[in-house]
Symmetry: C2
């Protein structure tokens, strides 16, 4: 008998009919001889509706109370899902994050899991009961207040419970069929990847693929827990995310896929005095403003002026904070001006095979050059090349790179992966 | 500094504007120098909407899961109310029933409070924080599962917390101005009672007045805690429910008011053999069917047949269960047939002064007789007379009795009380 942890997202439990379909799938998993723990998100738009309600009474609600409010969403979906399973004649109990033993720090709205004590879940499983758990939520160790885990929280709940319960697999159900070689809405020839490594998945998630969140993949890698990404709307095989791909390494594709991200912006600090410590002062000011930066490029200093330009990318939502933070230190640092640009797009080519295959960079930049696409910034890791291009060039760039690496499904073997772009 | 516990019902927090008005009132109470604990029900129709959702997936959802689902309602209202208070610049925290220390038995859907450990509330009050608590819910001592208290649960939560915290008063806010001498929709001349005793309030609540629930009045009486019934939509004085009315007993009204109840039915068991133990067998069968009966009348036995008829009243919703339960034992008991009637109404005249004032019954029955209203069943207590009449006669019966005892506001001194009939 295996222990399976399943996670269903908001679109999988959007209404009563969706919930009944999910209940049927859970019961099938149980009937196949497995112990089953299910983590569920709030139904469809519930979270947005609750945020709307909060905004009607307060422009800036206290984070503790916002967490209390939002956790009502999963409470509803988990209880209704439990009812639907009971209606199919199976023993089932729902548990809040707190009841399931999800212990977090006290950072409301973006709490981190610091311990998992799933004693009540183990007890339920021992009685043959299906356990339904509210995703996205926990209880703080210090204050015993209800917390939420922030973006990707339900995926992280599922992986954390699976690790604590020593589950055989964590199945993440979503509204796409798995991990693709690129966003199928941009590259119709994109195809599903059957197996992918944590390392590749982390790069993909970090570079804009939304199918799994960084935190949950990091968590799974730490515990070497296999994640199975599947659609709750089909019976397709989905994608297995594992520690290392088993079998013949010869069959490993060089490239996993192409990810893209439209949510970034670019800020250039012009005329920075070319003295030691100036760049550090700039990035310290940004850190103090709570801004996370991604790619950084420093121009070669102009000899005649002794000044240089520093360019970095950051989430579009952080541009205002970054600009304000830098303007406060303009006098101290002595840079000339700031320029920001939100019409950019980031494209990333990811593949563990890059390490041992020379020529990947050449193929990549040739494909972009042949399509007449100008590259603005470049950054690389061992298994990734990322470039910033004009936002208007992004879709075409994804297509030509996908094609240049033989990833198009028609071009023979499907060597695939990517994100949904959501 | 006084400690005030306030309870706001669903209609008082029906939408964002209502919640902001309630927040203002709570803050005013705090600014007047009081410590404040607020118990809140689910917003408006939330509970009904959640029940609808449950019914879409299961005709008979497990009680444990229904409690989990329904408690999401208060979780939403309490968090949003806390946000509205924070927006007015005051420290506030919301607490679930479990966090507030409302410990119950395990009877899902109708749990009884067995202990209150309001340590977290005391801690919040000590810091000058306003505490908002979810009404209607608790946590079971044995299973640590979430429970609901059933009908009148939020009122009971408020009184239980007020007793445990040794509050000075428990203010129950509703959508009527207090306790009236009769339902103002039936008797326009009905008027508000300024003070009423627990004893009278208990009889009123038991006889159909819906303004306060029996359980919460019983709880308040046990701890001698004053309840102040007020409208959240006005600044009127409302009604104080207290242990004994202070001041000159001479001014005590003989009659508190007239309550009525349209939710009862009448069942007659015809042709019961007139032997010892037959009535007991009938009521044992009803108890085993989970039916609560109210009034009972046994006819004088007919000498020629040795048989009698037994009539009792019960909630209309219990008629099917009662009939089924009795039919099962028809062979054993040997009664001839069953007859049920749902077109009845119950009228009750209540007043502590009845004890020492003869002639109340005479006035009561004369008023009904003068109006040509036939009385079907009669039951009395020390401070109450109840009769069953045709449902079509009920409103007229309430009016003539109200008038006969000088309760009409126009007839001089307002000697008042009653229920809203909701």
């Amino acid at each position: 008998m295996a222990l399976v942890v399943q996670k269903y997202g908001g679109s999988s439990v959007a209404d009563a009919d969706c919930i009944k379909r999910v209940a049927r799938r859970i019961v099938d998993t149980k009937l196949a001889g497995n112990d089953v723990v299910v983590v569920v998100s709030a139904m469809g738009d519930t979270t947005d509706e609750l945020i709307d309600l909060a905004e009607q009474v307060s422009p800036e609600p206290p984070a503790r109370e916002l967490d209390m409010l939002l956790t009502a969403g999963e409470r509803i979906s988990m209880a209704v899902l439990a009812m639907a399973i009971a209606d199919l004649g199976h023993e089932v109990k729902s548990f809040t994050g707190s009841q399931a033993g999800v212990i977090t720090d006290s950072s409301h709205g973006k709490a981190r899991i610091i311990d998992v004590s799933p004693g009540r879940l183990s007890g339920a499983l021992a009685e043959g009961t299906i356990a339904i758990v509210a995703g996205f939520q926990g209880v703080s160790q210090d204050t015993k207040d209800i917390t939420t885990l922030g973006r990707g929280g339900s995926d992280t709940t599922a992986v954390a419970l699976a690790a604590a319960l020593k589950a055989d697999v964590c199945e993440i159900y979503t509204d796409v069929d798995g991990v693709f070689s690129a966003d199928p809405r941009i590259v119709p020839a994109a195809s599903r990847r059957a197996v992918i490594t944590y390392e590749e998945m982390l790069e993909l998630a970090a570079q804009g693929a939304k199918v799994l969140h960084l935190r949950c993949v990091e968590y799974a890698r730490r515990f070497n827990l296999p994640i199975h990404v599947r659609s709750s709307f089909s019976l397709n095989n989905g994608t297995m995310v594992v520690g290392s791909t088993e079998g013949d390494k010869m069959e490993q594709p060089i490239i996993s896929g192409v990810a893209h991200d439209r949510t970034q912006a670019k800020v250039t600090v012009l005329g920075v005095p070319d003295r030691p410590g100036e760049a550090a002062a700039i990035f310290r000011a940004l850190a103090e403003s709570g801004v996370n930066i991604d790619m950084i490029v420093q121009n070669v200093s102009a000899v005649e002026t002794g000044r240089t330009d520093i360019t970095f990318t950051l989430p579009q939502t952080d541009v205002a904070a970054a600009t304000a933070g830098l303007e406060q230190v303009q006098g101290t640092i002595g840079f000339e001006s700031l320029r920001s640009d939100t019409s950019i797009g980031k494209l990333s080519l990811i593949g563990a095979g890059m390490r041992s295959h020379p020529g990947v960079s050449a193929t990549f930049f040739s494909a972009l050059a042949d399509a007449g696409i100008n590259v603005d910034l470049i950054s690389t890791s061992e298994i990734r090349i990322s470039v910033v291009v004009r936002e208007s060039d992004l879709d075409e760039a994804v297509r030509v790179v996908h094609s240049a690496f033989g990833l198009d499904a028609e071009s023979g073997e499907a060597v695939v992966y990517g994100g949904t772009g959501r």
